[in-house]
Symmetry: C2
Subunit: 214 residues, 2 copies
DNA sequence: GTCTATATCGCGATAGAC
DNA sequence: GTCTATCGCGATATAGAC
């Protein structure tokens, strides 16, 4: 997907992005200094600013890089319109699986939570990024739920777009509670329970090629 | 409930709290300096620090002041154990009404969203405050939902505590989407829809003394 | 093109004068 | 009760060495 770094500059750039992702994930945006990121990548903060115009742009590149990975996995056609599309049930299962996987990377989950809140102001550097992100996710989830509702037996009588909004909100809100007190809620169970209410039971592991014992 | 400020110090304190609430609401915690708050309240930042030991404590007092108002309205017995308790249906209606009211104060909603995310780290000054807040809300909402589920006809077969977690998450997550793009979601409609799915339709206005055309 | 050193700024917080 | 002065810290910007 991404090309191999050839020049020294590109390798440095990649190292900086890795360090930034690591540190942002661990401590959020505001709490991390360019000096720390630079030191982690093996240069000074001024050297870092040679590769990125500022902290904001660095953040956006970190976000985009991560987001593309997940989105491509959940909705392959976003990045590759010709990619083979898994069946709806499999995609829903991946959504739930992603929730479970997030439970193992609290840093990154926290980063997104902090940033999506910080970015509510129209002036925030990541504002447009998050607006687009949510629009896309609502649309994709809505289409996915629509397909599942129609295919269910009996068909589910619910507005897919409205449920998409709720599901997305549930995912975000569960993260808030889970980040504050990890033992207080099970994100994955909550999501399963919610989907079950809408007539969409989700298998615990994938049917084809999945591990049954985690 | 709160006593009138008598001394000059108490009036200054109140002015500081108002200014802090205003500025925190507009820009979050980290983005606002004590100097700004102090200037807004008509003194220097050193003068402000005579009344509050630090920025953290100032934040907590701002939060508590606001939170008490809402909590007392939703669950009167929290602050006044002897207070007359509205029936469960009325309290659920107030929850939904609060959602609608929040739609008119985006600044404060944003502050809570930003802070609850920032506060996920155990070192954050507001961490304990938010952990306790969510514990309390989960418990109160769980009890409320339990009463409503049992009283419904036919009784709703669902785990009140699990639904409380979901409802709380839904409320938070809807705020995230609404803050980013206010026109994209209707928080109140989403909540009504969610509650309806659990067999809990909520009247649009209060039965006793309420305005019907609001 | 890649990076370091240096300078300036604003922050939270403290000490002590008035 | 409020101020001025000051500290140490980290973010950002620029000049110029390699």
């Amino acid at each position: 997907m991404s090309k191999e770094p050839r020049t020294k500059g590109e390798r440095t750039r990649a190292r900086i992005l890795d360090s930034a992702a690591e540190l942002f994930s661990r401590s959020g945006f505001n709490a991390v200094s360019l000096r720390e990121i630079a030191a982690c990548a093996g240069l000074t903060h001024a050297g870092l600013l040679h590769h990125f115009p500022g902290k904001e742009q660095l953040l956006l590149e970190v976000l985009s890089r991560r987001d593309e990975t997940d989105a491509a996995w959940l909705f392959p056609r976003i990045l590759e319109p010709a990619a083979p599309e898994p069946p709806p049930a499999e995609r829903l299962r991946r959504v739930v699986e992603l929730v479970g996987r997030n439970s193992r990377t609290p840093g990154l989950v926290g980063l997104y939570a902090k940033l999506s809140a910080e970015a509510s102001g129209p002036d925030h550097p990541a504002h447009h990024y998050f607006v687009e992100r949510y629009r896309r996710l609502r649309a994709e989830l809505g289409a996915l739920l629509g397909a599942l509702f129609a295919a269910a037996d009996p068909p589910v009588r619910a507005e897919p777009q409205a449920v998409a909004v709720q599901l997305l909100a549930l995912l975000d809100g569960l993260q808030t509670q889970w980040l504050l007190e990890p033992g207080a809620v099970s994100m994955e169970d909550s999501v399963r329970d919610f989907l079950g209410r809408y007539g969409l039971p989700v298998e615990r592991e994938t049917a084809r090629g999945g591990r049954l014992t985690g």
